[in-house]
């Protein structure tokens, strides 16, 4: 049943969010730290276990893959609800900070991606 997949996804999502909020509370921060990350890890672990199960394959799996495929359109909707005007009217300071700060981080991607590679070779 499709709802099984959706239910598994919702379970992972909620447990992840709870873990993220607890981690936040433990560190004295009012919010969720890494909730989505925990949820994703949990889903990957559950997937390892259920992927070969009879009841999960087919319909149930589609309950998750539907939401996976809705991800792009949801991002488009999100883009349409951003405060783009504020970004444009934030002035020179905001513009410079946003642009230069981001470019600096872009430049670090290839460098940091190499970390940990040497140990394995």
């Amino acid at each position: 049943m499709t709802i099984y997949g959706v239910a598994i996804l919702a379970f992972c999502f909620l447990v992840g969010k709870i873990m993220g909020s607890l981690l936040g509370a433990a560190l004295g921060f009012d919010g969720d730290i890494g909730g989505v990350g925990f949820a994703m890890l949990l889903l990957m672990l559950i997937n390892l276990y259920v992927k070969d199960k009879e009841w999960f394959r087919g319909e149930s799996e589609r309950g998750i893959s539907f939401w996976k495929s809705m991800y792009l359109p949801i991002i488009v909707a999100m883009a349409a609800t951003q405060n783009v005007n504020a970004a444009i009217s934030g002035g020179a300071v905001a513009l410079l900070v946003g642009v230069l700060g981001t470019l600096a981080c872009f430049a670090l991607v290839p460098w940091l991606s190499k970390i940990g590679n040497n140990e394995k070779q």
Binding site: I33, G35, V36, T102
Partner: protein, 247 residues
């Protein structure tokens, strides 16, 4: 007319599905026929979304009642739900391999963004530690900025700048990622993990990677989700302390 308008407002989420479907369809068409696939359709669709957002206000196009369903569709609940779903195709081993680089990229990402923000703000005439820290925090993400500024008691002008800086970062990551992915060798799971940690803006990372290569989304989103929390912890505490020692 009123009857139709009310109906569309009442069923806002469904109207949003229809709207986004049309935006996607138009964007794919433009990408294929006009640009011969040079710019991915998804990137065009996201850009179209951003352009449409200028017609609204604080919450973009969804400030207009008839488009309010977009706020639910593109809100954090459904966004995070679908981002979690992308983990279905992700390989746990690849994440393990990138573990150390991922954690490092989180700390370096927050630090570099913060230092850049503080340095630029100082160069443009801000000299008090609270304003500098708030603008530096805004350079992390548009959530870290106001959280930090709120905790330190920054002025509303500085708060607005720090939010704007964060939003600009999100926009730049969204638009620029597919264009420069090749140059920064953003083409495998590990570099996506690092990318997510360095950039940290979950929406920007998710959108930018989606337009680059949807297979990379779960890896980038995984680390990005820790960034805002880390920034909110570090900026108003240790980093503010360090800034106040210097200025």
């Amino acid at each position: 007319m009123d009857i139709i308008e009310n109906l569309l407002i009442k069923n806002g989420l469904l109207f949003a599905f229809l709207l986004v479907g049309l935006i996607m369809f138009g964007s794919m068409l433009i990408s294929k026929k006009l640009l011969r696939g040079k710019i991915p359709g998804v990137a065009i669709a996201i850009f179209a979304g951003l352009a449409l957002a200028t017609f609204g206000g604080k919450k973009g196009l969804s400030d207009i009642p008839i488009f309010s369903g977009l706020a639910l569709m593109g809100g954090s609940m459904l966004r995070d739900f679908s981002v979690v779903a992308t983990a279905m195709g992700a390989d746990l081993n690849k994440i393990k391999d990138a573990g150390l680089a991922g954690v490092l990229s989180l700390f370096i990402g927050v630090l570099v963004a913060f230092v850049m923000g503080v340095a630029i703000a100082y160069g443009l005439g801000y000299t008090d530690a609270i304003s500098l820290t708030t603008i530096g925090a805004g350079s992390c993400t548009y959530i870290v900025g106001p959280v930090t500024g709120g905790a330190l008691g920054a002025s509303s002008e500085v708060l607005a700048i720090s939010i704007a800086a964060g939003v600009i970062k999100t926009l730049i990551v969204t638009v620029l990622t597919p264009l420069i992915a090749d140059r920064i060798s953003l083409d495998n799971a590990k570099s996506a993990v690092v990318f997510g940690g360095l950039m940290g803006t979950t929406s920007g990372v998710a959108a930018g990677l989606a337009a680059t290569d949807p297979d990379l989304v779960p890896y980038g989103a995984m680390t990005a989700t820790f960034y805002t929390g880390l920034g909110c912890l570090l900026c108003p505490s240790i980093l503010y302390y360090l800034v106040s020692l210097i200025f």
